[in-house]
């Protein structure tokens, strides 16, 4: 019997080749997307799975009286908390202070993800160790723990416990542990773990590690069932007793650790929520589509089913047969889509979002539940799309079904129409989202920046020179050559460039009025504004002639001027808050310019004079080069820098590439939305294709009669497509307000944003309508041109 069903199922699929292919295509596209998104969501929610009892983990968040918030506190606070709060089980800092060079034999590495942690680290983050003992690791000042990835770079597959690493060519550190790989979606980005005791020897750290600077993150494990509010009050007490200036702190909140990822990267939360919504939407569309198509197939098979019933089949086995047919389809499509998922979509996702969020890969021992989800999903789809459309048919009296009279099954149009409306609402929603996002990204890329990034290249020049004196003298030779180079129009040595300003803020006070303003600051040289074409509104630029006088002068931007309430620069000075020295002379004001992405507004900004052009603390060499000569200039520069002994080599890029990279995440989101929009409309149209052919089949006689009575082909086209086009119109009416609301609330998170125009929405709806009209038109045309003699005879 079973064999028989398989045979019929197979022959049916082959017979309706076109329809099966269409079904398969839609289903495969949908399933592959769902798989990818489910995997991303799964990876995200399980990335912190290594933390036992995560619900007892908390981090500290500082809220200042000036309305800012940081996920950091001062350094000594944690130790005070640990020694005075009985509810604390363990707590650790995680400080990314610097990136020391580590060496083993002749392998030298500098790991970007170097953090300093407390001896409690492994009690807070219960990370599994590949080698070593979590109870002992990091307890000794000179312990170092590596991730598997870093360990492999030094030692290959060998167990390195007890080996020595040389720290910055001076100290010898002992490897105390190697971590098992952790998902890159985890909140922990680890490479090398060193001890805070070691960090405390660092002179510049010592300078900041008092009760003044807020810069260290704290993760605390509390006793299960501890009273968090009481604990928060205790922390606040410690702040009042110990902070150098407790009046700065509005409060310190104890936040559950599960919130930290969204807190650190708010867009991650949006992406995950969007992914979940998309999974549901895509699943709905796929289901609705299959149900619609299957229903249309059912119509053409009423006779066959009636005959089978007469020959002795029962309802159950008819439902079973349909499920089997769909099961075959789902199985094949699951198979193809998992290949597409592993080989195509997952690498694509990693490429699109990997730069910001890290790459993910499938590891069976950890990710096997995902495969179970997919199998479960397959069964679910099979049952729904196999069983639902059959119920109405098996209930039909045989004598009616036998005549193949389709008109008698007309009642449930409401559901069918609701399905179509839902499907197209979603499709239009995605299209509108894509259109608006496109415009927003274009807007951000094309908006005037307030400076000119044309022909500007930047090179990183903090290359960890072995002999700094020799490097400095060679560098001044290089600068002299650059001055003589006709292709170099202008250059600047600077700590920061647009899109890469340090997160350095300070509260400055105007000594005259006592007004306090939080200003972001950085150091640069005299040619910075000239190279970037940033106009000065008033005052003057830095001058190299008299370095001693220029030290301690500031050029602010016009936002800062507004914030300070100044109208001119006469004798204006700024002072660090709490200091009584004569402060810094403000010598110039620039026009506002976008030194960071358009997501953020232009904040008050201060540029300090960084001295004459040299290597010293500068991170970048920024050059304005005649178009097309960049390669030539940098070939020379690379050759020159190769003569200076350093641990890194010179790298350069265009400033425009660097600023464009600020929008990488958004472009990734756009790419995903575009893809989803494309295939929702595709799947919806496939479904429409099936439905319209069914409609035509049902009305074949009517069309014939109308033609005999003189209806033109156009009239019949209109007759057949009218209904569907009205449905898509209704769908637009539903989708557009939702898209409007959704997108305008998302756009709120951009400091500079487009206004949503009515035509963007109309364009979305019109696009959907156009695609539907074409689909419906082609299919109706086929039935409209049939010779009525044929269609009438068939009755």
């Amino acid at each position: 019997m079973f064999k028989h069903y398989i045979k019929i199922a197979y022959r049916n699929l082959v017979k309706n080749r076109m329809l099966s292919l269409v079904n398969l295509l839609g289903l495969t596209l949908g399933l592959a997307s769902i798989m990818t998104l489910v995997f991303v969501v799964h990876a995200y929610y399980n990335a912190n799975g290594f933390i036992q009892e995560e619900e007892n983990l908390y981090y500290l968040k500082t809220f200042t009286t000036t309305g800012h918030s940081y996920n950091e506190t001062t350094y000594p606070l944690l130790d005070k908390i640990k020694s005075s709060c009985p509810d604390v089980v363990a707590g650790t800092h995680l400080i990314g202070w610097n990136q020391p060079w580590l060496s083993y034999k002749d392998i030298n590495l500098q790991e970007r993800r170097t953090s300093y942690a407390d001896p409690d680290f492994f009690e807070v983050f219960t990370l599994p160790l590949k080698y070593g003992d979590a109870d002992k690791a990091l307890k000794n000042k000179y312990d170092v723990v590596l991730t598997d990835e870093v360990s492999t770079k030094f030692f290959g597959d060998k167990n390195p416990i007890g080996e020595k690493l040389i720290f910055n060519d001076t100290l010898s550190l002992k490897i105390a542990g190697v971590l098992e790989p952790v998902s890159s979606y985890s909140s922990l980005r680890l490479g090398v773990l060193l001890t805070t005791q070691l960090l405390e020897d660092n002179p510049s750290f010592k300078e900041h590690s008092g009760w003044k600077s807020t810069f260290t993150s704290n993760t605390i494990r509390l006793r299960a069932g501890a009273d968090v509010q009481k604990f928060e009050a205790q922390v606040m007490n410690l702040v009042r007793q110990n902070y150098a200036d407790p009046s700065n702190v509005e409060k310190i909140k104890v936040e559950p650790y599960s919130k930290i990822r969204v807190d650190n990267i708010p867009i991650a939360g949006i992406i995950i929520k969007g992914a979940i919504a998309t999974i549901i939407f895509v699943l709905l569309i796929v289901l609705v589509n299959l149900i619609n198509l299957n229903t249309s197939v059912m119509y053409s098979r009423t006779k066959q089913l009636a005959v089978k019933k007469i020959l002795g089949d029962n309802k159950k086995s008819i439902v079973f047969q349909f499920c089997l047919e769909n099961g075959l389809l789902v199985l094949v499509s699951l198979f193809i889509s998992s290949i597409a998922f592993v080989l195509l979509l997952l690498p694509q996702i990693n490429e699109t979002f990997g730069g910001n969020f890290g790459k993910i890969a499938i590891e069976l021992p950890k990710d096997y539940p995902v495969i179970l989800y997919f199998l479960g999903l397959g069964v679910f789809i099979t049952l729904v799309v196999g069983a639902l459309p059959t119920f109405r048919f098996v209930a039909l009296p045989i004598s009616v079904a036998l005549k193949g009279k389709l008109n008698s099954i007309r009642k449930n149009l409401f559901f069918r129409n609701a399905f179509i409306i839902m499907q197209f609402s979603l499709a239009i929603l995605f299209i509108c989202t894509a259109i608006i996002l496109n415009y927003q990204i274009n807007f951000m890329k094309e908006a005037p920046l307030g400076y000119s990034q044309d022909n500007i290249s930047i090179a990183k020049i903090n290359l960890d020179y072995k002999d700094e004196k020799a490097a400095e003298s060679k560098f001044s030779q290089i600068l002299d050559q650059l001055k003589a180079n006709p292709f170099v129009q202008s250059f600047s040595t600077t700590q920061m460039v647009p899109s890469a300003y340090n997160r350095s803020y300070n509260n400055f006070v105007d000594p005259e009025t006592g007004k306090e303003v939080r200003i972001r600051y950085g150091h640069t040289d005299a040619s910075y504004f000239k190279t970037l074409d940033i106009p000065l509104i008033s005052g003057r630029n830095f001058r190299d002639q008299n370095e001693a006088i220029e030290n301690g002068t500031i050029v602010i931007n016009s936002s800062a001027m507004r914030a300070l309430g100044w109208t001119n620069l006469d004798n204006k000075r700024l002072n660090n808050k709490g200091e009584t020295s004569e402060g810094f002379k403000v010598i110039g004001v620039t026009e506002d310019f976008h030194y960071q992405g358009m997501q953020s507004s232009i904040e008050p900004l201060a540029h300090f004079y960084g001295g004459k052009q040299k290597l010293k603390y500068n991170n970048y060499l920024m050059l304005k080069i005649v178009k097309g000569k960049e390669k030539q200039v940098f070939q020379q520069l690379e050759a020159d820098f190769a003569q200076i002994q350093s641990k890194r080599v010179l790298e350069y890029e265009l400033l425009s590439d660097k600023t464009n990279a600020q929008y990488d995440i958004l472009k990734g989101i756009l790419k995903t939305v575009n893809f989803v929009a494309f295939f929702t409309i595709l799947i919806s149209c496939l479904g429409m294709f099936g439905l319209i052919s069914l409609m035509a089949k049902k009305r074949v006689k009517e069309i014939g009669v109308r033609k005999v009575l003189g209806a033109s082909i156009v009239k019949i086209l209109i007759l057949l497509s009218k209904e569907f086009i009205v449905l898509v119109g209704i769908a637009s009416c539903i989708a557009i307000p939702i898209a409007w609301w959704l997108m305008s609330s998302w756009l709120q998170s951009f400091a500079y944003r487009i206004d949503i125009q009515w035509w963007m929405m109309v364009l979305g709806g019109a696009l959907a309508l156009l695609i539907v009209s074409v689909t419906v038109g082609i299919q109706s045309f086929k039935s409209a041109v049939v010779n009525p003699v044929k269609s009438l005879r068939a009755e």
């Binding site: 019997m1 028989h4 045979k7 019929i8 022959r11 049916n12 017979k15 006779k303 066959q304 009636a306 005959v307 089978k308 019933k309 007469i310 020959l311 002795g312 089949d313 029962n314 009296p397 045989i398 004598s399 036998l402």
Partner: protein
């Protein structure tokens, strides 16, 4: 007596009025009968046949089939009854397009849970009997109308029913094919199968042993 209809009526409501499809039909069939139901279009022939075949219900009256009162049976019992005792032959054959001749014949046996070897021999017998061995692996669309109807009859017969209901079995065939089909029915009737056919043609009617005339749902 194989079956008996007593005062059977069937109607539909249209515009608040009853339109009778069958009215007060009294009618019986003995085993071994070959009955022709005659009447103009719309006189209720097919409806009567569907009622006899239990594919359709009726509104009033009694229907006894092999001492079972069909009108008081549950849907499930009723379908078991017709599956066991009745074979259907249709004007447009109603073979299953996706199945070969052999598989079409095998189908009713599958539903009755015959074993594999038994199915094989029964199908083989039928193919022999109707001389269509050579066509056993063809699909219905590859056969002529007459051949398709032969397969239809073979399929109706394969589970050895007591009664065959044929709704215009020659309606879609040319006269020569039609004659052959009618010859087959006569032969079957001689072998003891009860046959009820609905027909338009006087010529086909002549093959039967008894004629029932219908007009506007009434027996005349």
């Amino acid at each position: 007596m194989l079956l008996q209809l007593k005062n059977v009526s069937k109607w539909v409501q249209s515009g608040g009025q009853k339109t009778f499809l069958l009215k007060d039909i009294n009618f019986w069939v003995n085993e071994g009968d070959f009955i022709s139901i005659m009447g103009p279009s719309g006189s209720g022939k097919s409806t009567l046949l569907n009622v006899i075949g239990m594919l359709d219900g009726f509104n009033e009256g009694e229907y006894t089939f092999l001492d079972e009162s069909v009108h008081s049976l549950k849907e499930k019992h009723r379908s078991n009854l017709y599956k066991q005792y009745i074979g259907f032959v249709f004007q447009s054959y109603h073979l299953i397009d996706e199945l070969t001749v052999k598989e079409n014949l095998e189908m009713p046996l599958l539903y009755k849970k015959y074993g594999s070897s038994e199915r094989k021999s029964l199908v083989g017998d039928m193919l022999d009997r109707f001389n269509i061995v050579g066509k056993k692996d063809l699909f219905p669309s590859q056969l002529s109308g007459g051949q398709q109807q032969l397969v239809g009859i073979a399929r109706a017969l394969i589970a050895s029913p007591k009664l065959i209901l044929a709704d215009e079995p020659t309606g879609n065939l040319n006269s020569k094919q039609g004659e052959e089909i009618m010859e087959t029915f006569t032969q079957l009737n001689k072998e003891g199968v009860t046959i009820i056919q609905v027909t338009h043609s006087e010529k086909n009617m002549a093959y039967g042993s008894r004629v029932i005339n219908l007009l506007d749902g009434n027996l005349v």
